[in-house]
Amino acid sequence: MTTTDLLSVFPLLILILWACLVLLLDVFLKRERLTTILTAIGLVVTLGFSISQNNLNLTGFNNMVVVDNFAVYLNIIFLGSGLLAISLAHDYLKRMGINRGEFYVLLMFSISGMMLMAIAADLIVFFLALELLSIPLYVLAAFARPRVESEEAGMKYFLLGAFSGGFVVYGIALVFGATATTNLSGIAARIAEHQADIPLLTIGAALILVGFSFKVAVVPFQMWTPDVYHGAPSAVTAFMAIGAKAAGFAALMRIFVAALPTLSEQITPIIWVLAALTMIVGNIVAVAQSNIKRMLAYSSIAHAGYILMALVSYGQSSVASVSVSAALFYLLSYAVTNFGAWAVVIAVEKAEGKGLALDDYAGIGRKYPALAAAMAIFMLSFTGVPPTLGFVGKFYLFRAVIDGGYIGLAVIGVLTSLISAFYYLRVVVIMYMRDGEPEVRSEPWLNLTTAFTAIATIVLSIFSAPILQWASQAILSTF
């Protein structure tokens, strides 16, 4: 082990060590408030170290990890989502009577898995990261024990997650069989030397695609999403919707763009169909939902479809880097909007799974104008209406898809966005046009999160140039 090795995983090591320490402190001192503060400190410190890795471009452990700007960008998204999740969870856990310190520890372990996913450059490390990020999420989904919905969510997520993990491992085995290596640079070299068994490699790559499609909730591998998002505690769902999705896409982008661009002839049609199906099914089924959590679950499926569009042109090296940065920018815009929307959901939610129906939002516009305005901003951002972050994200994404020459897919994307306008704007209509007696929680950290994300959604869309600049620098290092 060299210094470079240590340096490349340094933020990760800090976070894991800190998580172990907080676990022990929590179990001995039993002071949840201290645990919360310590976790936030740990995430902020790790964030600092992650940012300091920008432009370093390290490789470590015999090319098993690569720290490029792509990884740094994603790590910042992961750690930022972790911080937002803590601010959402802080009062929510207390209110729901599930204020256990393990929440924060599991959150940290899950984030460390995601960070490992972003820097992984070896298929074995991808699998390790997948397990490290998933297992804490299974527990977190069931965190509202003994509520039956939550336990069901945890169980379902675990079974489907283990199942999809099987696909990934099988895919890795076949890729290893075809190229005699699990290292991404090794695989790329083998293909370039024409020493790879292409049919076997294609099957392996397709299986890996299926495995990660489960994680990012792509149709037809999305069945678990509505139940898990609905049953899991809202603060967990908010984190899961963005963290697990971003990590899954990080793996897909790294594996396919960096190691398998030569397979694009076989894989691109599959991704095309998956993306189109995901956008269509996600948006259409979301229209029929009357529960806000299920609606947001289907909306997250639909957004996975939009992001997957960026992968369609991964084989064309001129477009691939633009598409990747468009996807990264979209992930950021989705993360900000998503946390805001979930903050509003948490504010309206009551105990025992009540206060989640769309009808519970009636009258909020009159009684709580600030909250309603924030929710309207998030819904418009989800739809992709200017001047919101969602619009800018969709704009760059569609432009990258059209640059790749997939105009048909872009048309499907625009049309399904129109469908999505119906159910997003329905929430706004219910809030402003219908009378009701809504009850809304006002908790300091929750309000802060809502305000912060609402302002960020507007301001970042107007001043999107620096972020886009940052995202376009966050290219994958190719081999």
Binding site: M1, C20, L23, L24, V27, F28
Partner: protein, 118 residues
């Protein structure tokens, strides 16, 4: 390539045929005595107590999980011990890190009362 697997295919066919043949012989020539003792579920030789589909105490699962955890720890020790001399100090530090992580889990499980059986 396919021809290389021919002996294995022949072996498969022979094995299945032989097994079917022996079972067939047994069903023709074997004595058939149906007594109560033979109808009982097999419980390692002793007389079974209670039905076999009883509900298990959930604590057994906890113990099983902990057992697997620390059992696997020992499995990792074995290859480590075999090559320890050639790896030297580095291996010792690696193993200490490994044990340290497990120890955190152990302390947590202990403190949470997972090892108590009241």
């Amino acid at each position: 390539m396919a021809i290389e697997f021919l002996p294995i295919a022949i072996l498969f066919v022979l094995a299945i045929a032989l097994a079917v043949f022996i079972v067939f012989l047994g069903s023709i020539f074997g004595p058939k005595r149906y007594i109560n003792t033979k109808m009982m579920p097999y419980e390692s030789g002793m007389t079974p107590i209670g039905p076999g589909t009883r509900r298990m105490n959930v604590r057994f699962y906890l113990i099983a999980v902990l057992f697997i955890l620390f059992d696997i720890e020992v499995i990792f020790f074995l290859p480590w011990a075999v090559v320890f001399r050639s790896l030297g100090l580095f291996a010792l530090i690696e193993m200490l890190v490994f044990i340290g992580i497990l120890l955190v889990g152990y302390v947590y499980a202990w403190k949470k009362g997972a090892l108590e059986w009241e």
